[in-house]
Each structure stands twice: as C-alpha cells, then as structure tokens.
Amino acid sequence: MPETATALRELTFGEAIREALAEELRRDPRVVLLGEDVAEAGTAFKVLKGLVEEFGKDRVIDTPISEPGFTGLAVGAAMTGMRPVVDIMFGDFMALIMDQVANQAAKVHYMSGGKWKVPLVIRTTMGATRRSAAQHSQSLHAWPSHIPGLKVVVPSTPYDAKGLLKAAIRDDNPVVFFEDKISYAKVKGPVPAGDYTVPIGVADVKRLGRDITLVATSSMVQVALGAATMLEEVGISAEVVDPRTMWPLDETTLVESVRKTSRAMVVDEGYYRYGVTGEIASVIAENAFYDLDGPVRRLGARHVPVPFSPVLEDATVPTERDVFELARKMCNR
C-alpha cells in the first residue's frame, strides 16, 4: 500500500474517517477505539469495517450498551496515558453522556489547575432524513459547543474529515467530532493517501463569491454549494464558508467574508432555536454590522422533534431550494 501525502484518491466521507483512524492506530499505540459493535460489525454504519482485523480486539473494543460508563472510562483512560476514541452510535445519545462530557471531560484540565489532561475524542453522528424518527435523527452539536473546555468538530468533506479527525486524536483536549450519517456513503471527494492534518479552529472557504456569504456546517455545506450553483443561474454570486469547527470558531474568516459580500445566511442542521445559527449569526452581526446590507438570516432544522414519515421529515431539513429562495430574497432578486 504505497502512501504519499500527495497521492489523491476519491474517497467517501466514511472511508476517509476509517483511513484517519487506521493511520492513527498505526502511528500511536495509545490510540484505542471503544464503542458498541465497533469490532467485527464495524459499527452500525460499517464505518470501522476492517479495523479490528488489522488492529485486534485490544485496540478496537466492543462495549456493552453503556454510553455513560464507557465514556467515563475513556475520560479516565485519557488522563492516564491512553488516547481513546469513543464511538457514540447516534448523536442523540449525546444526551446520555453529557455529564461525562460536560461535567467531567471538559472540566478536568481546568479544575486541576492544568495538571491533568484529557486527550479524548468522542466520535458521534448527526443528520436526519434516514427515516429514523425523533430519537435517532438529531444534530446536537450545539450542546457541547456551549461548554468551555471542549472542542467541537463538524467536518463536511472527506478531506476535512480525515485531516480533522487526525488533528482531534492528536489534540490534548476532549474533542467531540460529529459525522453526518448521510455523508458517509453519499459525499465523495479527493483525499491524500498519507498523513496530513487539518487544524482545528480554521474555517474553509468552500466557494468564492461576491454577493452573499452562506455559512454552512456539516451536511449543510453540500446544500449551500448546491444552492450557490442555482443562485449563479440567477446572477447571484454566493460565497460558501464552512467553519469546520464549532469551537474554536474562526471568527476572522467568517467576518471577512461577510465584510466583502455584505450579506450573510447561516445554515445548520441542528434545531433552529438556541443552537448554532444564533451564535454564528451574532458573531457576524457584532463584527460586520456596519458592512451588512440587511440582517443575518438563519436556516436550521425545523423546530420540531424529527418526524418519521418521509413527507414530514423532508419538511424539517433545510434544502437547496430553501437556501436559494431565502438568498434570492436577501439579494432582492
């Protein structure tokens, strides 16, 4: 398997994740994966398929259905020399581990006056439209983003996913890493075969434009890019900025883009209220107020529990058309 950092292949989002994990497992013996059905089954999404064969059951460890328990165990393991990567199958189960994440992992370093460190990665999922209903479809990245002491990563492309996951594993802080389920198989893109990292805290301009800035996260980056293509057809040049990490948040890149375009929309798949869009819109409005032609607008998941029926569920997630129409209105065209 010849690997050079420059050899680019097309990988799916899921393959990029797996490759990042495989490379880090190879690189650092202190890295272990823990979670439900991560070994032979390779997780419910089959993203880890093949890893246990290479690394064995001591490194790719099946756990009982005890999310608080094994997350807590991983916090302690991280403090004492390991670099655990925990798999939380559905992002909805973040609700089960918030004590371990927010009260323990996030605070250990600070409470100990900087003496203990928690190099822990929690990989989990987000994203709806899989007809999985209200308890298996949420995008809860706003919750950990609210808690100082955590880093929160929401990659949108295979390239970013691999580079950011490697950076997260090497980070000495607890990082919550949200992977969009739909992207696993659907989103493809070029990925270097060898080692590279993408720094945590740096946004990426996914598309240059002049008339409006679309700040989009995770699954919504594809949606924003699709809308940007549609907008082009009506003569609107949209810039798409992907913050890539919720925290640290690269305010500079966001604000610079909006200073240039003078219009901004934030698109995120988390619930609309008290979530990600409010923070990012506020950061933009605070720092680019006098450059704005109109208010920053937001699109989030409809503020309802995610329904099962396709006709209902599809009405809860922002679409290319939603973004297109709102952008057109904002540009008065």
């Binding site: 756990t63 259905i65 189960f93 309802v304 329904p307």
Partner: protein, 330 residues
C-alpha cells in the same frame, strides 16, 4: 412451582390457549409482511423484527388486564400487537401514513396507544425503564391496580438507568414487571461479551423477585408472568423475568449477512427445535385441544387479516406536510 401447577394456577382454558396460538401467529405473519414491505422498498427506514420471540410478548400480555401498561423497544411490534394493537393501524404507522397510530410521526420504533395501555415503543435502549416504573408509580398513587410491564432486551442490562429505576420500584413496592428478553445478542455482539456475572442476580441484588423462564414456551411464560403480575398487583412489589429467547432474523431487516457474528447452525437449531409457535401448536394437538386443520385455519385467518391490514396501510394517504408542526406541544 412446576409447569403443571402453574398452568392450573393460571387457570388456562382452551380459548386462552388458542388465542395465544393465534396471537403468536399474528405477530409472526405481521413481521413477515414487514420484511416483505422493506424488501419491496415500500417501508421507509428500517425495522427490527420480533420473529422467534413471539411467546414472550404473548405469554406476558395474556397475563395482563387491558388497562395494564407496557413500554416497548426498538423491537416492539410483537409487544404492541400482543397488547391489542390493530395491525392495520400499525402497518399504517410503519409506512408513515396519517392513519397510523402516531399519525406517521413515530414509525416502527414509536408505536404508542393509550387505548391498549401502550406507553410507547422506544428507540433508546433502556428508554422504557423510567416510563414503565413511573406508570407503576401512578398506579400505586392513584390506586388503579394497574401493572406496568417494561420490555427490554438483555442489551439494556448495560444501561445504568435500569438499576436506578429498579431500585426505586423495589423501595416503593411499585407494580412493575421488568421483562428482559435475552435473545443472546446486543445488535452484533454476543451478550457474554457485554454482561458480567449472572443476569438474574442483578435484580435479585435489589431484592426484586426474579425468575428465569423459557421464553419459547408460551405457557411457561404465561404462568410465570401471571404469578409475578398478580404478586405486583397485590402490592408485593416489582418483578423481573429473564426470558431466554432468540431472534431468527437480523438485528434489523437490513442485517442479512450474519455469519460473522453468529453461526447459521445456531439459528437453525433455534428455529427447528425451539420455535414457540410450532411448540405450542404441537402441544395443542398432542393434548387434543386442537387438530392440525384448526391450527391451519387460524394461520390462514390471520394471514388474510394481515393482507387486508397491509392493503389498508399501503392505500392510506400520507399526512399533510403542514401537520409537521402539530403535536409539538399539548
């Protein structure tokens, strides 16, 4: 208590014995149609089939009053049907139709129905533990005499909240039965890799009356359930049943290549030797309580019923998209 004594104690008559057969057949045929709907790409999402475990739901629910409560799981169709759910309204829900039990908002993992005491299936493993225990709390506080049954798989033994709620139930002598369906697998992982010690010792440590039961023998299940349910109803506290059973199919309808986590022979053995419907049918025949023709009649009646139910559901309209904003708040 021997099986014989128990049956006597539970006072099983022929109608009940035949109804249990019919109910198990109904669940089996319901699930086969679910599998079929999935294969034909008519069903959105996934479903977790109860095939092979029918005696558990039926044996327990036959021991309940209509107004007793249950909570169910991701693998919940059997529980809902055994407690009295109408197949056509269930199929409609599974297809995301307006006519479904939850107006299409819940789907396979969230069938709920106050009329049959169904507090809801739950997609969080162990998610029913609090709810069922709380229903038992209400029953005791309001003096309604209702019992709540909390169904869950052995995988839920991994969830700490189960011990928290069992402790509460025992402290307060709440009429709740924890029905642990041990089908040996947590998704794709054998329970021996996830469960230390002795399963039954866990509730017993809390002082809860706990019993291991052959979950493939519907009469045995029914007898054990009857005894423990009535004990709970009398105010003597919660109970725990550990029911040995097996799911014949995959974890969900899409889980078809299973050899990497469990051998085909194991599946075959359970299906050929421990099938709850066949076992009960054979017994009915051997006891002279039914003949083969009668059992086949039941099977074909149920099959027509299921066909009609599927047809109803397939034809039923989807909800209006505008209803997406309804029912968020009461």
């Amino acid at each position: 208590m021997t099986t014989a004594t128990r049956q006597a104690a539970a006072g099983l008559d022929v109608e009940t014995l035949l109804r249990m057969y019919r109910q198990m057949a109904a669940i089996r045929l319901f699930e086969e149609r679910v599998s079929d709907l999935y294969t034909r790409a008519l069903m959105p999402g996934l479903a977790h089939l109860y095939i092979g475990e029918e005696a558990v739901a039926v044996g327990i629910c036959e021991a309940l009053r209509p107004d007793d409560y249950l909570t169910s799981t991701h693998r919940g169709h059997g529980h809902c049907l055994a407690k009295g759910a109408a197949p056509h309204l269930m199929f409609a829900e599974l297809l995301g139709k307006e006519a479904g039990y939850c107006k299409g908002k819940g789907g396979s993992m969230h069938i709920a129905d106050p009329a049959t005491g169904n507090l809801g299936a739950n997609a969080i493993v162990g998610g029913g533990a609090g709810i069922a225990t709380g229903a038992a709390f209400s029953s005791k506080w309001l003096g309604t005499g209702r019992v709540a049954v909390c169904f869950f798989g052995e995988g839920a033994l991994g969830q700490g909240v189960l011990y928290e709620t069992m402790n509460l139930a025992q402290l307060w002598k709440l009429p709740v039965i924890y029905a642990c369906e041990n089908n040996l697998y947590n998704e794709y992982t054998h329970c021996s890799e996830t469960t230390a010690g002795d399963m039954l010792a866990r509730p017993a440590a809390l002082g809860i009356a706990a019993e291991r039961v052959d979950g493939q023998d519907v009469r045995e299940v029914h007898a054990a359930a009857s005894a423990i349910v009535e004990r709970a109803r009398r105010g003597e506290g919660p109970g725990f049943l550990l029911l040995d059973t097996y799911r014949y199919r995959g974890h969900h309808v899409g889980d078809v290549a299973r050899e990497y986590y469990r051998p085909k022979q194991e599946e075959q053995r359970w299906m050929s030797e421990r099938d709850p419907i066949a076992l009960h049918g054979d017994w009915l025949v051997s006891e002279g309580l039914a003949d083969r023709a009668a059992l086949e009649r039941i099977q074909s009646e149920v099959a027509s019923e299921m066909d009609a139910a599927v047809e109803f559901a397939v034809k039923a309209p989807y909800p209006d998209p505008s209803t997406v904003d309804e029912d968020v708040y009461a």
